[in-house]
Symmetry: D2
Subunit: 244 residues, 4 copies
Amino acid sequence: MATINVAMIGQGFMGRSHSNAWGQVVKFFTPPLKPVMHTVFGQPEENPQAFAERWGWQNASTNWEELVKSPEIGLVDVVTPNYMHAPVARAVIAAGKPVACEKPIAGTLEDARQMVEAAKAANVKTFVWFNYRRCPAVALAHQIVKAGEIGQIRHVRATYLQDWADESIPLLWRFEKKWAGSGAHGDLNAHIIDMTRFVTGSEIVEVAGAIAETFIKERTLPGQAATGGLGDAAASGGKGPVTV
Amino acid sequence: MATINVAMIGQGFMGRSHSNAWGQVVKFFTPPLKPVMHTVFGQPEENPQAFAERWGWQNASTNWEELVKSPEIGLVDVVTPNYMHAPVARAVIAAGKPVACEKPIAGTLEDARQMVEAAKAANVKTFVWFNYRRCPAVALAHQIVKAGEIGQIRHVRATYLQDWADESIPLLWRFEKKWAGSGAHGDLNAHIIDMTRFVTGSEIVEVAGAIAETFIKERTLPGQAATGGLGDAAASGGKGPVTV
Amino acid sequence: MATINVAMIGQGFMGRSHSNAWGQVVKFFTPPLKPVMHTVFGQPEENPQAFAERWGWQNASTNWEELVKSPEIGLVDVVTPNYMHAPVARAVIAAGKPVACEKPIAGTLEDARQMVEAAKAANVKTFVWFNYRRCPAVALAHQIVKAGEIGQIRHVRATYLQDWADESIPLLWRFEKKWAGSGAHGDLNAHIIDMTRFVTGSEIVEVAGAIAETFIKERTLPGQAATGGLGDAAASGGKGPVTV
Amino acid sequence: MATINVAMIGQGFMGRSHSNAWGQVVKFFTPPLKPVMHTVFGQPEENPQAFAERWGWQNASTNWEELVKSPEIGLVDVVTPNYMHAPVARAVIAAGKPVACEKPIAGTLEDARQMVEAAKAANVKTFVWFNYRRCPAVALAHQIVKAGEIGQIRHVRATYLQDWADESIPLLWRFEKKWAGSGAHGDLNAHIIDMTRFVTGSEIVEVAGAIAETFIKERTLPGQAATGGLGDAAASGGKGPVTV
């Protein structure tokens, strides 16, 4: 079976989830290329070597700029905190390699459009991790609609509910604009927008209303472990503003 | 037990539903006044006498203007098609009697405000049939919130779904602006707006977006029976535009 | 519309429920005979006159033996505590009148068989209140099976769950063998046995296992009101054994 | 991390499922010993080498008797068709090694008891794959009951429903007594019996009734692939009796 060497940039929650997927895919499916878990990148304080051993990566790196350019690497998977999605993905594109990037791919619409243009210009394959498309129920809904079995779609009601972010949760990077870029709209609603497009086969043409309200405006500063290597450990124990 | 003579204006779907309620209330509850089902009004072609016999009204009438002024009547229940809610309710208020009116009470905000002013000026009791307040689950939600058991309410998600109005349904009065005044916003969403206010104890202060789209733009003209006495029987079989 | 005068023997929970049904049936359906709520029987201490007024019976009686023989009465509805089902039903049959009897119709199989024989010999119509047959879902299941739409029925799983009988509930007549005849098997399982026969169209031919266990073996003695006129008010406050 | 070399005997549906588990356990948990996927056994016609490569076993074997005795192997996992559970498990016990065996561990109660005695005599650790104990909901139920939070358990209702075995399914080994030993009672009900014991902490002391009925008495003979290497390929296309 032909293989492709994968580098993964990032090793947080999504890093674990993607490691699992890269390791399992050839057991349950028969893809045309077998992914080889070549190298994982993490910040030195995240101990990427230990992560690599636990999750089955052959190597660990603390220098993503070099890693994405390495001739050993055939595909780069971007699973960093949001603010690094665009710079890393652009570097992969610049290296002429296919990039699979977590959503949201950028913090601004302009950045996202530039990334699309860069990928087209470089003629590299790109992929955004809208993983719900492969949930069996969603995939089936897509097929049912595509086959015309339920006629014209008139309404879609979509709500992405999560309940983990109550007052007890500290100021993770997801709550800071400089790291996350956006809040629930980019993080969660991106999925339901994509699923709507995927299931209906239609594009959204108008936004008739939107509300964004941050109910918990301040959170406890976390230790470093909770921030994907971004936090200021010294400040732990104080409070900081939620900015998304 | 002290009694009060009720007149009901209208005898369609809501007329049957209210007749049932007026007849059942003293069996399951012990209200301070026992309602007497005195007279029901219907158009002559609706045969209000037969309706009265089936549903337990002592008398039938085809003249609502006189009925609401009759000294026999202590309370008037308005269950006509929407366009008659305001004129009948205003006549009851003018007669100095309490009025219980189906929603939407009027076709325009201006009319509704005038009705409120008229009722205040005449010092008559009024009641709008937001019946979901007495659904046990809704009443319990109201109590739970009022008791502070779930803290501050941050979100309410409310959708009123009905599925009867597909292409097979003819042009009932509910689909014509001149009779209905409004469409699903007045007919169904009125309930969820009221429930939101009732359960949360809060007022809506801003509307951030709204869509209104009529998917089925034309329907078969119905016979008279389907229109609450409003239809043009001769036209049955043709097509007419949906205007709400 | 032709009418039939109904007498109802009993005025407990089922008495209220049946009163409601007798009053509502001609509003929602068009039966060949209109039932007239002629007379309700109750024990003197139950105040059947007040019950009659609340629920719409024209008369009240405290002598059921005479009532079932009265030439005024065309049909008798038996809703007493269980131990009186058989004696009252037999008296109605002896009077040559149709009888509608609550389940279980008797406390023993022998009694039940004698009742069937008596009814056949007297050529009177009988009816047992297996009301779930008219629940829309059950009626639909019956039709679906009868139409052969789901093929051969191989398994039926049926459980009748109720949760009201915890330790806080006093020794109602349902917990005493002399009044109830049987426990949950006669009271609740009778319904699921009937539904199984009704939906499948098959008879039960073998019982492969059965357990009967009374977990709460003793309950507080209730006041008279809780016992359908059967209780010994003086004893209230003590404890008594559960015997079903 | 200390390691233990695992041999797995069998490579059917459970073989794939267990391979997945052995490979994933150290990623999601931190067990005291790290299992090494040393060798998988399969019949020559099952191609255990290909299975080993796909699922991550270091070696493949077609001789289980030697494999279980190999000094390389520290633990044996038995996932064969049912009729081989007992012989393989006994051989592992005889080799003085811990054995993890799929259920049902034997086709008869006598065999099962002998296995328990043999394991005790040899002082080897044993484990039966009642995997539902680790389903989060079941584990939580166990904890809730153990903590006394819901008081005395009076009833357990347990039904194991599967719907795959309709007329279209051929005569897999699960339908033949010589390979399967028992039918749904051993295969599925074993799980609910174990869960009942696990959640309640109580033992079953009496069986009050049981039914066993084979509705589909004959099935098409399958090709070899469907039988875990047990089938008679030449006979494929004919019919055979279901014997469990």
